[in-house]
């Protein structure tokens, strides 16, 4: 059974009172679940949140499935998101995504055998002047080359 940590529960309760309407707490609560559940939101955690927040699970599902930053499937410890939108594509972003996949012997959106990596192609991350770039968990890495990107991933603890 999934449950949030004590601090996680306290966080969700604070968020329920933070905005003008309780329902606004759904996005922050899902972020919290994802953080405490190794980077993804499981179906059972939605049921859990629904009870904890006293908000219908359909309302939580609706948010979970609409927004791309919530992972509906397990991801690696490091979720590597390579921008493949226009300015990054013009500067080698797609080739970099391919290079990372082949170097780590991974298919896109898969979790590596050791659980460390998932590589995804994503849309514009608003760092177009530093193309190509990737986001690893919360952190932006900009102005990359294929080699630099591999080096960054290998260097992660």
């Amino acid at each position: 059974m999934f449950s949030l940590s004590e601090e996680g529960v306290a966080f969700v309760k604070r968020e329920l009172n933070r905005y003008e309407d309780r329902r606004s707490a759904v996005i922050p609560a899902l972020y919290r679940v994802q953080k405490e559940n190794k980077g993804w939101v499981s179906p059972e955690s939605v049921t859990y949140l629904s009870h904890l927040m006293d908000i219908p699970s359909a309302w939580i599902e609706e948010v979970l499935t609409f927004y791309t930053m919530f992972n509906k499937r397990p991801v690696g410890k490091y979720h590597v998101q390579v921008c493949c939108n226009i300015s990054c594509s013009m500067n080698g972003g797609r080739e970099m995504a391919d290079h990372l996949c082949s170097t780590l012997k991974l298919k896109e959106d898969e979790v590596s055998g050791d659980g460390r990596y998932t590589i995804s192609r994503v849309e514009c991350l608003g760092a177009c002047d530093k193309a190509p770039m990737m986001q690893v968990n919360d952190d932006y890495h900009e102005g990359l080359t294929n080699d630099k990107a591999v080096e960054i991933l290998r260097g992660l603890k």
Binding site: R18, Y19, E20, D21, R22, R23, S24, A25, V26, I27, P28, L30, Y31, W59, E62, V63, T65, F66, Y67, T68, M69, F70, C84, N85, I86, S87, S89, M90, N91, R94, E95, A97, D98, E108, R121, E123, C124, L125, G126, A127, C128, D129, K130, A131, Q135, D138, D139, Y140
Partner: protein, 432 residues
């Protein structure tokens, strides 16, 4: 020439803190000035300044504010920091380099529209912006610029942040309101406009980061001083996010009406040696593409780009040199709109899918000549038929790419390969 009004102190790291904002800049002196004015006076001032929304639509800010009802009903101010238009990275930089300038502009705007509560809706991926803006808000509370009875003026204003979770459509103001309400970010039918029924059904004003920051300078210097830059219908300075194939990509603040060719060839250092300019997308990927001759005579203001059949949009300038395949770039762009369509309106949900599938088929070397016509026809059936502008935002680039670079599309269909790119690039492109 750059004119650094909003970006004057971007280079100084300490400008991020309240201390630095006071020391290097003018602190919250403009807020003090504003609180001694009548709210209506500020609205008139913003109207007189000619300020237009800097997020994409270019709607006159003062006029938007004056749509609020006069019945004293509670109203909200929302700052749109859900920067997602491909090519745009100006709001992120402003939040990270000059958060207090945004917060001060918002408190002044909040006072002008008599709102007691504002939210800054920040796109989910911008974790640094979120952290920096949250810290700046706390500093502003501690200094008495937010909260009850601000600086003894009897004006009360609270401010908070809200993090999105990855959805381009939440940059559309009613989509943003849905998202802030804790729902999927689907836009709502207008009318009623948010100024009458917005967040939780209450009157709401939604303005972009750059717009709200500009309000500070309009109040500080006056409408006439603000108008010294820009043109009659496009007043003031604007931030342009330049990316693609220029030597020095980045954010540049110039007066509206600035020649696009000077932006590319002077400020951004031109193209890589040996490359030629092929096309420019002047206002984010929704804006119809300009050919090289069009780009060379364009000026960066609302009216010139509208006359050329394109738009200023968010100010994201994507510079495309002759090493790029236009079929490929349209494919990337259509993938994006298909991915981001919220699915609510049929012409958009189905149309973006068809556009993407059709151009992907051409880009894979399996297109038919009639597919080129099909792209044009689908696009025209998508325009003006949906709740929000996303459908048009997908259709407009498709129409312009196909019609202005038809020869490249025809070549791809005829030869089964790109006119520009070698075979090597096929693999990378396939997933899109």
């Amino acid at each position: 020439m750059e004119v650094k009004l909003l970006t004057e102190h971007y280079g100084k790291a300490e400008f991020q803190s309240l201390e630095g904002y006071k020391k290097i800049g003018d602190g919250y002196e403009t807020l003090k000035k504003a609180l001694k004015m009548q709210p209506k006076e500020i609205i008139e001032l913003v109207k007189a300044s000619g300020l237009r929304g800097r997020g994409g639509a270019g709607f006159p800010t003062g006029m938007k504010w004056s749509f609020l009802p006069e019945n004293g009903e509670p109203r909200y101010l929302l700052c749109n920091a859900d920067e997602g238009e491909p090519g745009t990275f100006k709001d992120r930089m402003m939040m990270e380099r000059a958060p207090h300038q945004l917060i001060e502009g918002m408190i002044i705007s909040g006072f002008a529209v008599q709102s007691k509560k504002s939210y800054i809706y920040i796109r989910g991926e911008y974790k640094d912006s979120l952290r920096i803006v949250e810290k700046a808000i706390r500093e502003a509370y501690d200094a008495g610029f937010l909260g009850k009875n601000i600086l003894g003026s009897n004006f009360t204003h609270d401010m908070d942040v809200y993090s999105g979770a990855g959805a381009y459509i939440c940059g559309e103001e009613t989509g943003m309101i849905s998202s802030l309400e804790g729902q999927k970010g689907q836009p709502k039918l207008k009318p009623p406009f948010p100024a009458l029924k917005g967040y939780l059904g209450k009157p709401t004003i939604v303005n972009n980061v750059e717009t709200l920051a500009a309000v500070k300078y309009i109040v500080r210097d006056g409408a006439q001083a603000y108008r010294k830059n820009g043109t009659e219908k496009s007043a003031g300075t604007k931030l342009f996010s330049v990316s693609g194939n220029v030597m020095k990509p980045g954010n540049y603040e110039v007066p509206l009406g600035y020649p696009l060719k000077d932006l590319i060839f002077n400020l951004c250092g031109g193209l890589k040696p040996g490359r030629k300019l092929k096309a420019v997308i002047p206002g984010g990927s929704s804006a119809p593409v300009l050919t090289e001759p069009e780009a060379m005579r364009a000026t960066m203001d609302y009216e010139c780009l509208a006359q050329m059949g394109s738009m200023l949009g968010s100010g994201a300038v994507i510079v495309i040199d002759d090493s790029n395949c236009m079929v490929d770039l349209l494919n990337v762009t259509m993938h994006f709109y298909h991915h981001e369509s919220c699915g609510q309106c049929t012409p958009c949900r189905e149309g973006t899918g068809w556009l993407h599938k059709t151009v992907a088929s051409i880009a894979s070397g399996h297109g038919r000549l009639q597919d080129i016509q099909l792209l044009d026809r689908i696009s025209k059936n998508m325009m003006g038929r949906t709740i929000c502008a996303l459908s048009d935002a997908a259709a407009m680039p498709a129409i312009s790419f196909v019609n202005k670079f038809r020869e490249e599309f025809e070549f791809f269909v005829r030869e089964g390969r790109s006119k520009v790119k070698g075979e090597g690039f096929r693999h990378a492109q396939m997933h899109h």
